[in-house]
Each structure stands twice: as structure tokens, then as C-alpha cells.
């Protein structure tokens, strides 16, 4: 799995002790590139986050200083957006897990006898990847707009209040995040359920366990690597996303997430220190949550 691909030590043991000059030549260009355009940017983000904007200066101008109060200000001003981001992302992750588990179980376990069908279903799961992320979100916006037959139908059936809206609400943003990140959940779940030994389930029922108990005690623990992978792959991008929550897409006035704030501070109001401080907070919180979650779930070799 991508999250563990770099952690395996086997390659090192197999790797013969050969001319390290060649290794250096092979590694250097790519590693220098990443240092220059990944590491340096992270450092410059940290530096920018401590700068002070110049009062009455040019737009976007800031002066060199060490203003750690930026972080206090940012948390005071945008605490609500930070909490909202993680709230939405947690909800979307839970819904995606509930949606994906039965689907991945069907593809990975029930459909084993028909490999062609299995492959076809996998293509269908990743199909949404191949149509523009923005267009498929806009498609949902039209399908669920106030004039759409879905919403008018729900209102006619009195399942929705006549003056209620769906687009522009928190529910719509969570819906969009869930939809867009479902394949991230389904594929890792599939790849761990695919390897599930069904004889263990038979053993469970032979020992007079109910199907529900077998599921809880055997299937879920055996698919834990898939669950952990899927949760991380869904949660990280969902917490940083700002397309779904944008007002032109599924969001409204009260749904702005941390990504929206970073974007508008960086590209609209040109308040770089605030945008940088928010980015660092987002990255730090995600790294902490990921580490804690991975340790709790007992698959430490994931990172």
C-alpha cells in the first residue's frame, strides 16, 4: 500500500552492495528537486507565518519579524473554520466508511468467483476519478438544486420543509466531501478484504458464532489495515478541501472551511502570514491525528 510502500525494509536487505556513486547519480536530481520545491516551500511557509503585515504598505507587503502572536490571532479569528473543517472531514469519513464497507465486501469477497465482474466493478469504483473533480461536484449542485426534481419531489412528499434548501448547507458540503472521497475508502478496503481468508469465517460459524459476531470478531479486525488506510486517505484530503465548501459549488455563507480561508487570504486579500499560519496549523493537526490514529489502531508500520 502506498502508505506502507516506503516503510518496508526488505528492499534494503536484498539490495546488493554496489557502487554507491551510481546510486547517488540516480537519486540526486529527484531528491534535490523535492528538497527545492517541497522542503524549502514548507520552511518558507513557516517563516512567512511569523511575519508582520505592513500597515498602509503595498498590498501583500510584510516585514521580517518574529510574530508568534500570528498563531494566537489566527486561532481566535478562524477557530470556528478550523473546527468546522475537521468536523466535516470526520463526518465525511464516517459516511464514506459506512457506504464503502458493504460495497468493498461484495467486490472483494462475494464476487471472488467472477474475476471479470470483479475487475469491471473496480473500474466502476474509480470511474469518477476520470471526470473532472470540479465538474462532478457542479453536477451534484445542479442535480440537488432547489428547482431540481429530486428536491421538488422530496418537498412534494413532505420529506423536506417547503422553504428548505439543500445546496449551500453544511449537509450539502458533507455530502459532496463524502461522494468525492468514496473511492479513496473503497479501494483500500477492497484490497484488504480481497485477501480475507473465508475459511476463518467458516471456522467462526462452526464454533456456533452468529454471523454478526463473526463479522465483528473476525472480519473487521482482519480488514483493519484497509480501514486505517481508507480513513487516512479520506480524512486528509477532506480536511484540506475547499472546492465542496466553496459558495460557487456546494457550500454557502456559513460553510467555509480552513482551505477556503487559506485560499482567500493567499489569493484575494493577500494576507500571506495568516494564510501561512493556517497552513501550518492544518498540516500539524493532520500529522498529529494521523500519528495518534495509526498508533491506536495498532498498524504502526503504516507510516
Amino acid at each position: 500500500m502506498a502508505f506502507s510502500a516506503f516503510a518496508t525494509g526488505t528492499a534494503q536487505e536484498q539490495a546488493p552492495r554496489r557502487k554507491s556513486k551510481i546510486a547517488l547519480l540516480l537519486l540526486l536530481p529527484g531528491i534535490l528537486y523535492l528538497a527545492l520545491f517541497f522542503l524549502v516551500p514548507l520552511v518558507s511557509l513557516v517563516i512567512t507565518s511569523f511575519q508582520a503585515p505592513v500597515l498602509n504598505g503595498d498590498i501583500g507587503e510584510f516585514q521580517t519579524s518574529f510574530k508568534w502572536e500570528n498563531y494566537v490571532d489566527v486561532v481566535n479569528t478562524y477557530g470556528e473554520h478550523i473546527l468546522r473543517s475537521f468536523g466535516y472531514a470526520i463526518l465525511a469519513t464516517i459516511f464514506a466508511l459506512l457506504f464503502s464497507y458493504p460495497l468493498a465486501y461484495f467486490i472483494g469477497v462475494k464476487a471472488r468467483r467472477w474475476p471479470v465482474l470483479q475487475n469491471l466493478m473496480l473500474v466502476l469504483v474509480i470511474a469518477p476519478f476520470f471526470i473532472s473533480f470540479l465538474l462532478r461536484t457542479l453536477a451534484w449542485k445542479s442535480i440537488l438544486s432547489d428547482e431540481s426534481f429530486v428536491i421538488t419531489g422530496l418537498k412534494a412528499l413532505s420529506l423536506m420543509a417547503p422553504d428548505a434548501h439543500f445546496t449551500g448547507t453544511a449537509a450539502a458540503v458533507v455530502f459532496g466531501l463524502t461522494y468525492n472521497f468514496i473511492p479513496f475508502m473503497t479501494l483500500p478496503l477492497y484490497s484488504s478484504l480481497e485477501r480475507l481468508d473465508t475459511r476463518l469465517l467458516e471456522a467462526g460459524s462452526d464454533l456456533y458464532s452468529t454471523p454478526a459476531k463473526t463479522f465483528l470478531k473476525v472480519t473487521i479486525p482482519l480488514s483493519m489495515t484497509g480501514i486505517v488506510s481508507g480513513v487516512l486517505l479520506t480524512f486528509i484530503p477532506a480536511a484540506g478541501d475547499y472546492i465542496n465548501a466553496s459558495r460557487d459549488f456546494l457550500g454557502g455563507t456559513g460553510t467555509a472551511m480552513i482551505g477556503n480561508v487559506i485560499e482567500s487570504n493567499f489569493l484575494v486579500t493577500l494576507n500571506y502570514p495568516v494564510a501561512a499560519a493556517l497552513s501550518i496549523i492544518l498540516m500539524a493537526v493532520i500529522l498529529v491525528m494521523v500519528t495518534v490514529y495509526v498508533k491506536r489502531s495498532g498498524t504502526e508500520d503504516l507510516l
Binding site: F3, S20, L27, I107, P183, T198, G240
Partner: protein, 289 residues
């Protein structure tokens, strides 16, 4: 395809094959699960169907209300010149970034599997981190660097950004292929007095090619649909996703749906062809064995 989508695809590509294919007889809901799967797939495909259907809409400016069927938008895509310019930029960026990222990533993948060197875990971490960093942080960080260095944003900065996030995915994908490669084949080449150059280009490279092609396609897909990182580093340059984002407020022309649908079908055909050819190879191998 966005950056996170690549994480999942590369994960699916690099995960090892399952041990057994025994049919499952147990569990509840032998009819419930198939029905659920059908409903789930319909749900997943709804926005794709919508986008495709509305590419035939005889719309005037915004493409929200159905006004009648026409092939016109498919035949005259470039009537909306902005869409075509944005699409062209996305192609240029995608191809350039893919070539650079594939070369850099393949070199790293070979070094990681084949050689011993110091700072190995630090390098692995450096390759892993870009995949675990939210796109908004990657984009803002690079933009802060360009700002500090006084670099003018444009096509060049977008390509720099795209290469940066594609490299790690190329490494994961190619590395999986390198580690399945039998070193005995290269040894045989050396035993037969092949020069290191000959051994690499006649033996190693052809054997790695499927992995390299998969990595290149993944890079292109990532680059083509990237919006968040691009938005921070594009300046005034337009790309296809950026065009959609900007026009979202006043309505997307049907021509954008045409391009998105065409790209979708090309991608699906490529995936299906790859699946069929690998299934055929497996059958041939089964016959030999």
C-alpha cells in the same frame, strides 16, 4: 484525477496479489449485498451521466436548464475559445510535467531497490511526505517560495509544482515493478559480455516499461485534473480545471462537458484495454505453466 486519487490508484497498483480465490458461501444477505452494490454504483455514476448528457444540451450561455438535444457542442468545441485554450494549456503542462516526473521518479525507484546508501530512511520520508500533505499546504508553500524569490507565476511555475507532486507517485508505481524484476536476467546479460549500457537498455528498461508507462499515465491524470495546487501557482495562466472553477459562478458552457466527457471515455478505454491485455497475458502464462 486529483492528487489524492493518485494515492488510491497507486495503492491498488502496488498491493500484492491475493493468495486464494475461494468462493464465499457464508454471511448474511446473499441477495441484499448485490442489490446494494447496484444502487451504490448507480449513485457513483450519477454525476458522470449528468455531465455527459448535458454535453448535448443546446445551451446558450450557462448549461443548467435543458434546452434540447444537439451534437453541435461536440462538433464545434473550440467555438468557446477559452475552453480550448485552457484545455491546450492543461495538455502542455500534463505532458511536460509527466516526462520530467517520470524520468526523476524512475531513477529514484531503481536506486531505492537496487543500491545501498546512507540516509535511506530520510529519503523515504522525503518521498512519502508530499503524499500525506494536504494539497492546499503544498500549493500555498510553493506559492510562498515563488513570492519570496520574486518568480513570476505562469506556465513554468505550474509545471514545477506538478512535477513536485507527481515524483512520489512515479516512485511508488515503478518501485513495485523494479522489485518484481529477476536480477538473474541482468546477470545473464552481463555473463554474455553485455556492457552496463547494453544490459540496461536491452534488458532492464524493456522489463520496467509497463511500470513506467503506468506511472506516466498516473502522473498525467494527476496533473491534468489538479486544481488546488495549480490555483496557487498559476498567476493569470488558465488550465482546464481553473477555467471551470472561475466560470462556476456564471455558468459552465456545454463545451466544457464535451471535453470532460471525451477525456473520461478515453481514460476508461485505456483502463479497460490495460485490464484485458493483462488478463490475456495471465492466461498465456497459465498455458505455459
Amino acid at each position: 484525477m486529483t492528487l489524492q486519487e493518485g494515492r488510491v490508484i497507486s495503492e491498488a497498483v502496488t498491493s500484492p496479489a491475493p493468495p486464494s480465490r475461494r468462493g464465499a458461501r457464508l454471511g448474511f444477505g446473499n441477495w441484499l449485498l448485490p442489490i446494494y452494490a447496484i444502487i451504490a454504483f448507480v449513485f457513483l455514476l450519477i454525476p458522470i451521466g449528468y455531465t455527459f448528457v448535458f454535453s448535448f444540451n443546446d445551451s446558450i450561455k450557462s448549461n443548467i436548464v435543458w434546452r434540447g438535444f444537439t451534437f453541435d457542442k461536440w462538433l464545434n468545441v473550440c467555438d468557446q475559445i477559452d475552453v480550448c485554450v485552457a484545455f491546450g494549456n492543461s495538455l502542455i503542462i500534463g505532458v511536460t510535467a509527466t516526462v520530467i516526473a517520470t524520468v526523476l521518479g524512475t531513477m529514484i525507484a531503481i536506486a531505492l531497490v537496487r543500491y545501498r546508501f546512507r540516509f535511506r530512511s530520510a529519503i523515504s520520508l522525503l518521498l512519502f511526505l508530499p503524499m500525506a500533505t494536504p494539497e492546499v499546504v503544498l500549493g500555498a508553500g510553493l506559492a510562498a517560495e515563488f513570492l519570496g524569490a520574486g518568480v513570476q507565476k505562469g506556465l513554468g511555475t505550474i509545471i514545477i509544482a506538478h512535477v513536485m507532486f507527481c515524483v512520489s507517485f512515479v516512485v511508488v508505481t515503478v518501485k513495485a515493478r523494479v522489485s518484481t524484476l529477476d536480477p538473474a536476467l541482468e546477470e545473464a546479460g552481463r555473463d554474455l559480455y553485455g556492457s552496463p549500457n547494453q544490459v540496461f537498455w536491452r534488458i532492464t528498461f524493456p522489463l520496467l516499461l509497463p511500470g513506467i508507462i503506468a506511472a506516466a499515465l498516473l502522473s498525467f491524470a494527476l496533473s491534468f485534473d489538479d486544481f488546488i495546487i495549480t490555483n496557487f501557482n498559476a498567476g493569470t495562466t488558465s488550465t482546464f480545471p481553473k477555467y471551470i472553477y472561475i466560470s462556476a459562478a456564471r455558468g459552465i458552457p456545454a463545451e466544457a462537458n464535451v471535453i470532460a466527457s471525451a477525456v473520461f471515455f478515453i481514460a476508461i478505454i485505456l483502463v479497460l484495454v490495460a485490464q484485458i491485455s493483462s488478463a490475456r497475458k495471465r492466461k498465456q502464462l497459465a498455458h505455459v505453466g
